[in-house]
């Protein structure tokens, strides 16, 4: 501790004026609003202040070049989807692109590569019906064709033409003429001499004259030769017979099949790919005609024909996307953008322990449904689904949709899978996300940059002008209508406007965060209805705000309790050396609260280093560490520009066991250091917040309202002394929208809010002493430390070597 008696005395600082209460809150007078309730107002089609985003969206939706997909950025709940919906509806209505149905059909030559058909909307289902009806027609007509007398006659004719027995019969007859019998054996034919119609026994044959025997045997050999010749012709004859019968069957098949497909081809003649498919189907039906002849007794009944027709799945039409009822281009929002939900999938069924699939089991994804129109995706959901982002990019770059399983996509598939023909893709993708994700993608994904070239940036707030105030009121009316809420009277509108300024921490601006406004109105409506009111009044809004705070306030209350019970030490009166009340803000999602925290400093003879204890133990973030370095530089610049600064100091946030980040405590830290160096007491009845630069300028900080209220709550709970208050950066004065109880205390002179735009004013406010006397005292102390340093270092030794070991 410095010997304060040897240091120059401190002189009182001139009186400092606090902010008047009018500067602490910008009211919205109900009289400024030219309506009684919002029911009188016109709804607002679009959120105010979104001109930049709307212009970007308009451009992005209109430009047709590749790579001009859109990223609409804004915080969660700001109203991205709602903004888009209106704009997209207009764009879709203007759209002149044809709306198409998309179908998958069997590829008869390669069933594992189904073919895609594009048809005008509504024709997909029509084609499916037509094919089903064609199959029913064939099931009815083909069996009858093959039961006709004409068919049986032709079969009979062919049968006789290829009668195998006739040729054998001829040989048999010729043999009989020479008394030789041709007899059928189990395996073929044999020839034997006969007499009187009976086969000659061996002994009788042996008894014949030699010449006769020879002649008989020779004739038998000759006849055998002929027989063999006929037998050898049999295979060829049979092949010929089969081919002729096939031709006959095909001829009769065509009689039934050709008219059916001729009608279909005529109907779809304007669609070349459909006609090509019908040609292939026609050919396949001709090949598979036999399957249609499997007749059942009751097959004439139409319902059973339909049942049987369903068995012929190979001729079915899988209508992937049916846009029959769509009047504008599709607008699809996929709220669960998994790989399969985006790109489609092939389903499987189990048969005999194996998983099988075919074209009829292909299911569409969101890209299919949005094809020709617009697809909306949430960026955070898209990026957290495995393979979804990669799959989407591939589809956009290739301009087609390939239905693949993830294993196929990454070439992991070990078994054969379906590979449907890719569907040509013409879609504009709109990703909705926050700024953080956008910048991550910009930084780390070059494909994102090339595919999403249009960024639409939604604003979170607007200027609080009379015009915007009017628009804001209309927006509240629109929200009320949309969610079926009571109208707001103008006092309620005024209160919401003030709250919107508070939300954005700026009395000159209004938050247009749709989600938060909707929550506030809904909760206000609930309270109003419960009270039996016919409209929402300011009291309902206040109650809703307080209730929302109360629901999340437990941590703040516990924190405050800890201070009031002096478990956490925070002084709110008296003075102390090297000790300042800093202010921290705690963010809990959408809720924040402020809390005073004791910052202490020590100083001693050393090598000129300011030790940030938080940083030393890895509890201090980078920004906090930077702020401490700035303080060090400021200190050195202010008090040791032309000489070494032979002191070591340390700073700490007392009783802080979590991380510290930010620079908003740097004013407090510097004041604590100066106090510690020169033994200058600091007023504990004040708390201070503010960031410093190297030249001592106090810079704006965030959470100023919560910080002021946090210190006020502690002082108020202990009993306001009348001299307590908070010092804030002058630049933050415009951000003040303090609570009513704080304003009331200020109006009554029991609490004060001061501003400081440089460290000099802050020092004077927090110590009550003039900055000149403070500087003189600090400088004198530095002189003392220098002398001590020289004494300890000895003559000729370096004055820069101290207990810290560095200069």
């Amino acid at each position: 501790m410095a010997d304060s008696d040897s240091l120059p005395p401190l002189e009182a600082a001139p009186a400092q004026s606090a902010l008047p209460v009018e500067r602490l809150y910008r009211h919205c007078e109900p009289g400024e609003l030219a309506f009684e309730t919002t029911a009188e107002l016109e709804p607002l089609a679009r959120q105010p202040g979104q001109e930049r985003a709307v212009e970007a969206l308009g451009f992005g939706l209109a430009i047709e070049h590749e790579g001009y997909n859109l990223y609409l950025m804004g915080s969660s709940g700001v109203g991205k989807r709602e903004l888009l919906q209106g704009i997209l509806r207009e764009a879709a209505a203007r759209g002149d692109g044809a709306i198409s149905d998309w179908c998958y059909v069997n590829n008869f030559e390669a069933p594992d590569h189904p073919l895609v058909l594009r048809l005008p909307r509504g024709m997909g289902c029509e084609l499916r019906r037509d094919m089903a009806r064609a199959v029913e027609d064939l099931l009815a007509s083909l069996p009858a064709t093959f039961q006709s007398e004409e068919y049986h006659s032709r079969v009979q004719e062919l049968g006789e033409e290829f009668q195998e027995q006739s040729e054998f019969q001829q040989i048999a007859e010729r043999a009989a003429q020479h008394d030789i019998a041709m007899i059928q054996t189990p395996s073929g034919y044999t020839l034997a001499p006969t007499k009187n119609g009976e086969v000659i026994p061996p002994n009788e044959f042996e008894a014949l004259p030699e010449e006769e025997k020879k002649a008989t045997l020779a004739l038998i050999e000759e006849l055998k030769g002929e027989l063999k010749g006929v037998v050898r012709q049999l295979p060829r004859r049979r092949r010929e017979s089969m081919e002729r019968f096939r031709q006959l069957n095909r001829e009769f098949s065509q009689l039934a099949i050709d008219p059916v497909f001729a009608d279909l081809k005529q109907k779809y003649e304007q669609h070349a790919d459909v006609v090509a498919y019908l040609e292939a189907a026609h050919h396949d039906v001709l090949e598979e005609a036999e399957a249609f002849t499997q007749e059942r007794e009751e097959s004439a009944i139409p319902e059973n024909l339909k049942e049987r027709a369903r068995e012929f799945t190979r001729y079915g039409v899988n209508v992937l996307v049916d846009n029959a009822d769509l009047e504008t281009v599709p607008i699809v929002y996929e709220d669960n953008p998994t790989f399969a939900n985006l790109l489609g999938r092939s389903e499987h069924f189990a048969r005999m322990g194996t998983l099988l699939t075919d074209f009829s089991l292909i299911k569409p994804g969101a890209l299919h449904r949005a094809n020709g129109g617009y697809l909306l995706l949430d960026a955070d959901k898209l990026l957290t689904q495995p393979f979804a982002w990669t799959g989407l990019k591939r589809a956009l770059k290739a301009r087609d949709i390939r239905i693949q399983s993830p294993e196929q996509f990454f070439s992991f598939a070990a078994t054969a899978q379906l590979e449907p023909e890719p569907v040509p893709l013409d879609v504009k993708v709109l990703m909705l996300g926050d700024r953080y994700l956008f910048h991550l993608l910009q930084e780390y994904d070059p494909e994102f940059v090339s595919l999403f070239r249009v960024t639409a940036d939604m604003t979170e707030d607007v200027d609080r002008t009379p015009e915007n105030t009017g628009l804001f009121a209309r927006m509240l009316h629109s929200l009320s209508q949309e969610y079926g809420l009571l109208a707001l009277d103008r006092s309620a509108v005024a209160r919401v406007i003030e709250h919107a300024a508070r939300r954005v921490e700026d009395s000159t601006r209004l938050s247009v965060h749709r989600g938060r406004l909707q929550s506030l109105l809904t909760e206000s409506d609930f309270l109003a209805r419960r009270a039996g009111a016919s409209s929402i009044a300011a009291g309902h809004v206040d109650a809703a705000i307080e209730a929302a705070v109360h629901r999340l306030d437990q941590l703040r209350e516990r924190s405050q309790e800890g201070i009031l019970r002096e478990i956490m030490l925070v002084a709110t009166e008296g003075t102390a050396v090297g000790q300042v009340n800093g202010l921290a803000v705690y963010l809990l999602g959408d809720y924040a609260f402020g809390r005073p925290t004791r910052i202490t400093a020590t100083a001693r003879l050393g090598a000129g280093k300011v030790l940030d204890i938080e940083r030393e133990v890895d509890l201090g973030g980078k920004i906090h560490s930077k702020a401490v370095m700035i303080i060090s530089a400021l200190l050195a610049d202010r008090y040791a520009r032309n000489r070494p600064l032979p002191l070591s100091a340390s700073l700490v946030f007392e009783q802080s066991y979590g991380g510290i980040e930010g620079d908003s405590a740097s004013v407090a830290e510097l004041v604590a250091l100066v106090s510690a160096i020169a033994d200058i007491p600091v007023r504990q009845e004040l708390a201070v917040t503010g960031s410093l630069n190297q030249h001592g300028t106090v810079q704006a900080i965030g959470g100023v309202n919560e910080k002021v209220e946090g210190f006020f709550d502690i002082c108020n709970a202990r009993g306001l002394s009348g001299s307590q208050g908070v010092v804030i950066p002058a630049a933050n004065a415009v951000h003040l929208m303090l609570r009513r109880d704080v304003r009331d205390a200020v109006a009554e002179g029991r609490f004060h809010v001061y501003t400081a735009d440089d460290i000099d004013r802050a020092l004077e406010l927090l110590t009550g002493f003039s900055v000149a006397s403070i500087d003189a005292r600090v400088s004198a102390r530095v002189d003392e430390l220098q002398a001590l340093s020289r004494r300890f270092s000895g003559r000729g030794e370096s004055a820069g070597r101290g207990d810290d070991g560095d200069g």
Binding site: F162, Q165, P186, S187, T190, K228, V231, M242, F245, E295
Partner: protein, 254 residues
């Protein structure tokens, strides 16, 4: 409903060629509907055995066009196997359909042996040719898609039409063609109409023995029902030859 026919037994001659299971199935079902017993007559072809005894006897094999020695032992062995197999199938089918079955053996020509037993028995003669690759409904089709009935003497027609009617009533028949050697009188016409649906009448004026043989040879019918009077004058060898070329079965009604 047709009058039950006054017939008792159907004889099935079986030689070394055997009879297919499908044909046996039709036969057993017909026998059941006609309330007949079955007699399987296994006829060993003596003539063929005599040929085999000749020292120079060979056979031309249909499957290869080659020639091999015709051996008596092989013929007997083959006939024995065919007989056993056919008998086993017949017994199973007869048992399943509750049709009385007896079996006998005989020696001689197949048809000669069976035609000698005429008088109170009917004869089922399987054709040996196969139908070509025509389109026929395969699921739940009638066992006898096309039935042909050749009318003969007036006193036989009643039994023939009764047989046809019984088979139609049992759902075994798809279409019936009634083949008339001449003009139909009113009585026959009435009997035909009582058969019910899907009947066509075909006039075959001047049908003689050769005509009947040709009808059997070129039969477009899955089963032809013939009066015994039409076949009794046909030499067995000629009848055998016609059956060799026939695709359908023949039921000779006495």
């Amino acid at each position: 409903m047709a009058d039950p026919p006054a017939i008792k037994t159907i004889v099935l001659p079986i030689d070394a060629h055997g009879v297919s299971r499908a044909t046996l199935d039709i036969l057993v079902r017909v026998a059941r509907q006609l309330d007949c017993a079955l007699l399987g007559l296994f006829v060993e072809d003596a003539r063929l055995q005599r040929v085999a005894d000749l020292p120079f006897a060979t056979e031309v094999v249909l499957t290869s066009g080659g020639e091999r020695r015709l051996q008596p032992e092989r013929l007997r062995s083959h006939f024995g196997k065919v007989s056993r197999d056919t008998r086993a199938v017949l017994e199973q089918l007869a048992g399943d359909n509750r049709v009385q079955l007896t079996c006998e053996t005989a020696s001689g020509a197949r048809l000669g042996a069976v035609l000698q037993r005429a008088g109170g028995v009917n004869i089922f003669l399987p054709g040996r040719e196969r139908w070509p690759a025509r389109h026929t409904p395969r699921i739940r089709r009638p066992a006898i898609p096309r039935l042909g009935v050749l009318l003969g003497a007036p006193e036989e027609d009643q039994r023939l039409l009764s047989v046809a009617g019984t088979l139609v009533d049992a759902g075994l028949v798809g279409v019936v063609h009634v083949l008339s050697p001449g003009a139909l009188d009113a009585e026959r016409r009435g009997a035909i109409e009582r058969l019910g649906l899907a009947v066509r009448v075909v006039r075959l004026d001047g049908l003689d023995r050769q005509g009947v043989t040709g009808l059997i040879r070129r039969s477009p019918y899955d089963l032809q029902v013939l009066p015994f009077s039409c076949v009794q004058e046909i030499p067995p060898a000629q009848l055998e030859s016609a059956l060799d070329a026939s695709r359908g079965q023949v039921l000779v009604v006495t």
